[in-house]
Amino acid sequence: MRVCLWGTRGSIASAGPETVRYGGNTACAEVEGRDGTIVVLDAGTGVRRVGNTYHEPRRLDILLTHLHMDHIQGLGFFAPLFQKDFEVHVWGPPSTTQDLRTRLTRYLSPPLFPVRLRDVAARLELHDAPMGRFEIGGLAVTAQTVIHPGQTLGYRISDGESAMAYLPDHEPALGVDEMPTSADWTSGHDLAAGVDLLVHDAQYTADEYAQRVGWGHSRVSDAVDLARMSGARRLVTFHHDPAHNDETLDDMLAGAQARAADALEVLPGREGQTFRI
């Protein structure tokens, strides 16, 4: 399985010389299974670049964790949507009140966006992601609700030999006196359990989190603790705060690596980075 990070920033794109090593595009990752099945995770501004890499008509699946702007803002710039021979499936968190098309159209329609979803050239299908396990080509996908404001999913993806989990926006410590607590009462545990690669929210320092409880994100230490508890082999820090420059992120990574010690490998979530698991 190949996992490539196309956008690692949270909240808002933050390009500039101070963020050049970790990247400024918002959430997007690409997963390719052994059989060539491709799944794109989230459609933040990073999805524009990955879209430009698909030259031959094919099926592409985009799994949205939730519909906050930093996870959908790039969708209108995803080139395959505007090529008629492509087949694009977009999966998102289910709602009991509005279907995914209605919710996405709030953004992808005038006056916020010039092109309507119904006018794209590709064959576009939108789906409420089933809770639990479903298959896309040669990949088994598990969707599960995680703690974040609004209906938000995390995903676990396996090709039968290896597994990765993607929880870009997640606050497992919400309401908990101390992390880690028991596995059965920890949001995200089952998605992350035993994976080869865990891509996880690590937006805040401890001091920042104290001022932002309930905003839906993790301290770096929470990401490490969840990874250790769930037996993940490698943790990739993700959803970097737009106020954090490369040096700050280096420091946060060093802290995470120290906390993890020998229990797991902690790697920096850098735009353009590829992992083979």
Binding site: P94, I147, S162, D184
Partner: protein, 141 residues
């Protein structure tokens, strides 16, 4: 790297709706009990410990049948509430809120006249993930 393949052998976690409800219950001063979709006891908070006469840590999670055996309801006339009629059981079965005044005998054998508000919890996609019972010590008329 050797992976876990299709199967996740470590599945242990409750639905996030239950996790959030437990956290909410832990922070409130209203006695609350949390059950899964089958009625099995998952948690009760500290104010409920006072009513039930035992600490949650000493009781732990309990299947519905064991819970029934450990604390029982009687109606206002003193008759036992049938096993399919406790408020939380009805709330889960019929997916509706239930409010009822009953006598409850806790784990310690003490009787309390209480009002129970029970309601089902519907998770993402509208599926039943569990239910909550809130206990109100009855005020004398």
């Amino acid at each position: 790297m050797q992976g876990t393949g299709w199967h996740n052998p470590h599945m242990a976690q409750h639905d996030v709706g239950l996790i959030l409800m437990r956290q909410l219950a832990s922070g409130l001063d209203v006695p609350m009990l949390l059950a899964d979709e089958n009625g099995d006891l998952l948690f009760f908070n500290e104010p409920a410990e006072v009513l039930l006469g035992q600490r949650f840590d000493d009781v732990g999670e309990l299947p519905l049948d064991e819970r029934r055996a450990m604390f029982a309801f009687r109606d206002e006339a003193g008759n036992p509430v049938p096993p399919d009629q406790p408020p939380l059981v009805v709330a889960l079965r019929e997916r509706r809120p239930v409010h009822r005044r009953v006598w409850m005998r806790g784990f310690d054998g003490t009787d309390h006249e209480i009002e129970v508000t029970a309601f089902p919890l519907l998770g993402g996609g509208g599926h039943l993930i569990g239910g909550v019972a809130m206990f109100w010590v009855a005020k004398k008329a």
